[in-house]
């Protein structure tokens, strides 16, 4: 499945005011809760935080890539968030994060789909011009168009 079809407008957040990484991750889990398909939001929050404790998901170049497999979601969820100001994230290269792609997949779901989505995200955000275009987007619909136009 293409990334642009996983990213619907209610999964994209522009000019997020949260200034703390953990607060922002909690916000994103809450948003998944609003979309539906979670049986225990607090448990999912703990899984996401546990993953962060295991090793930071700031992969450099201003990208945060939090990801987790969870027994508390029933389908693959991808959310994109852009903080109003670059967020201190403890990334590998020390660069604050300005794009966060959050991916959660069911533990017993299709592992290939999960890996396929991670590969697509990595490929897409590895391109400087795509990151620049996404950062200039004013609406979720613009972000979806940019992703769709740049997907292989």
């Amino acid at each position: 499945m293409k990334l642009s079809s996983l990213l619907t407008p209610e999964r994209i957040f522009i000019d997020i005011k949260e200034k703390d990484k953990n607060v922002l991750l909690n916000f994103l889990v809450n948003e998944i809760g609003k979309i539906g398909g979670i049986d225990d939001i607090d448990a999912l929050k703990k899984e996401v935080m546990d993953r962060e404790a295991l090793g930071n998901t700031g992969i450099g170049r201003g990208i945060g890539f939090p990801h987790a497999k969870s027994s508390h979601v029933d389908s693959l969820q991808v959310l994109l968030a852009m903080p109003a100001k670059p967020l201190e994230y403890g990334s590998l290269d020390g660069v604050p994060v300005n794009i966060i792609l959050f991916i959660v997949a069911p533990v017993d779901g299709d592992n290939n789909e999960y890996l396929h989505t991670m590969a697509r995200i990595s490929r897409l955000l590895g391109k400087n011009n795509v990151r620049e275009q996404i950062l200039k987007a004013k609406t979720p619909e613009e972000v979806i168009d940019i992703v769709a136009n740049n997907e292989a």
Binding site: R51, L54, G55, T57, L92, D93, N112, L115, M118, A119
Partner: protein, 144 residues
Amino acid sequence: MKKLDKILLNLDSTIESQHALDSAVFLAKSCSATIIAVNIVNKNVVTNLARFSDKSIAEIEIELEEDGWKYLYDAEEKAKNQEARIVIIQEYGYPEQTLPKLASEYKIDMIIIGQNPQIRKDVVQGKTAEQIIEHAPCAVLVVN
């Protein structure tokens, strides 16, 4: 010896790479270090596969990327199960160039790579480890 904080691990499809992962997890646990596991989509491999395949370069890259994420995800699971800290990333390029570059960029203390001892040192694959050692800004552990 300098304290080990960050270990850069090259992950690919080889069994030696899995041995390197085991060593990295052991060292990371022993020294409370973080493993930065990188899968490099090797441009040489892409080019060579494209020569002998009906698939386009983009299709081959996508296949290699997905394979790479499988190695990375499996490594993450293994590290998680053994309570070792790990960060996973994917890069594009040539391992002999990319690993030393990342080691400088991320202030790595040790690079760990797998290497098949049977590969002759005068062929391209055999030279990769030597080139990494030559250009690395830190210690390099080669695991058979």
